[in-house]
């Protein structure tokens, strides 16, 4: 069947075409300008921020480093064991302290130094953010920070007190650690910490090279308050069954509360470790959390912005 298209119909089509071509003159309805801006927005790579509140999770580190030009003063305290009873004021009569400074050289590279009264230890760290969790153009599922540490025991005072062969170099221990974390949601972050520790001198029942794995996380309860946990499993720990009570070694377990107020972060902790270098809390924790050898501790940090960011 042939459709009858007469000259009249063609004319109408021509007019419609003309109307379309001149349409800019005829539009009265306004397009949504905001919609246009949204359409034009370039997609960018967004790096995840604030995976943890501070540079420390409990005793150990988090993936967080200091931003370029900012200096953090950190004051850490570990009291005696709570099961020391009323005579020891539940541990509050004794305390080990670490005073430290962390500084951001770039947004990804930090250095820190500190002094821990436990074993009179001086320590230093280099911390570098190797990988950053991101979404957008470049999506990456986790962040990874490398930590390199050095600790020097000043106790005992004289080498001869240990043995005639003891040298200064024997006071050193080294730490290499990968801190791998993912911020799953705004409120929940999880971190694993494969760790290698080398001690230049050890007890006869211990190994010089030790390997451990840390697991930890934080759960934000409010915008300024978070619960944290940290557990280090030492795979190279000596067999406790063959050791006397003084020689026994336990994995360190820590539970904490992070409270953030502006430039301060307060971390209140319950832990079975008292030393604050990796050598001490990962490989030389002599207290058993499950026997009640729990210590109250806190980390307090204050950040100062030394160089203004442009």
């Amino acid at each position: 069947m042939i459709l009858p298209i007469g000259p009249y119909k063609l004319k109408v089509m021509k007019k419609t075409l003309l109307l379309f071509l001149f349409s800019p003159f005829l539009t009265f309805a306004q397009e949504d300008l905001l919609g246009e801006l949204e359409k034009d927005t370039k997609k960018e790579t967004e790096y995840t921020f604030a995976t943890f509140k501070g540079t420390r999770l409990g005793n150990g580190h988090t993936i967080e480093t200091k931003n370029a030009g900012s200096l953090e003063f950190i004051f850490q305290h570990r009291f005696g064991a709570i099961n020391g009873g009323a005579y020891e004021m539940f541990g509050l009569d004794q305390a080990y302290v670490r005073l430290g400074l962390d500084y951001g050289i770039t947004d990804r590279l930090s250095v820190s130094i500190g002094r821990n009264s436990f074993d009179k230890t001086m320590d230093g760290y280099l911390k570098y953010k190797v990988l950053r969790q991101s979404t957008g153009v470049k999506t990456f599922p986790f962040s990874m920070t490398f930590l390199g540490g050095l600790a020097y025991k000043l106790s005992p005072k004289d080498n001869a007190d240990v043995s005639p062969e003891f040298e200064n170099v024997d006071r050193l221990s080294y730490t290499a650690q990968f801190l791998i974390a993912r911020k799953f949601t705004t409120n929940f972050s999880f971190q694993i910490m494969p760790t290698y520790i080398h001690k230049n001198i050890v007890e006869t029942y211990e190994e010089n090279d030790q390997v451990a794995l840390g697991l930890g996380g934080r759960l934000k309860v409010t915008k300024s308050l978070a619960l944290t946990g940290e557990y280090y499993i030492n795979f190279s720990a000596p067999d406790n069954d063959t050791l006397t009570d003084d020689q026994k070694r336990y994995n360190s377990l820590t539970f904490g509360i992070d409270i953030e107020t502006g430039g301060h972060v307060f971390q209140l902790l319950l832990t079975n470790a008292i030393g604050l270098t990796e050598r001490a809390y990962i490989t030389e924790t002599g207290d058993n959390f499950f026997d009640g050898d729990i210590h109250l501790g806190f980390n307090v940090t204050r950040t100062f912005q030394l160089k203004k960011n442009k």
Binding site: S224, Q305, K308
Partner: protein, 179 residues
Amino acid sequence: MIKRILLLSLVIFSWQAEAQQRYFAEKAAISFFSDGVVEDISARNEKVTSIFDVINGEVAYLLSIKDFQFPNKLMQVHFNEKYMESEKIPKASFQGKITGLNVAAGGTQQVKATGKLSIHGVVKNVEVPGTIEVNGTRLILKSKFMVKLLDYNIKVPQIVYQNIAQEIEVTVDFTYRPL
């Protein structure tokens, strides 16, 4: 033939006329300032995008919260994480109309913008004063207004030591050129 050329030129002209009423912001910055007892808080966002239609006065701008740069990076983290919740609500915007502009008259003119300001996921009708300077083909828009944090459901925890003001001063500085 002449008829056809005339027609074609009319079509082209009509599309050009459409293009010329739109202005696009080539430089657009929004900054804010808040008086604090301990520290003043200030930040600047230079990645704002904006379109302004001179014919009918329609205007819109859009920005990402995370693009606000603070002199103090820790403040920037807190701003995004605790106050603006930029992971959940990444953008802020304004959409409305500017009245009182006569481009032909030139010079600096007092104008008024009315419309919807969206911050922290809360949309409010606002009316803000400003000026537009006609500079050659460019239009320079400047405006200053106050934003109450509570109006946009931005809560500052009481334990925060910096006495963060409940009202902040927002400064808008856009340079438009014809699209």
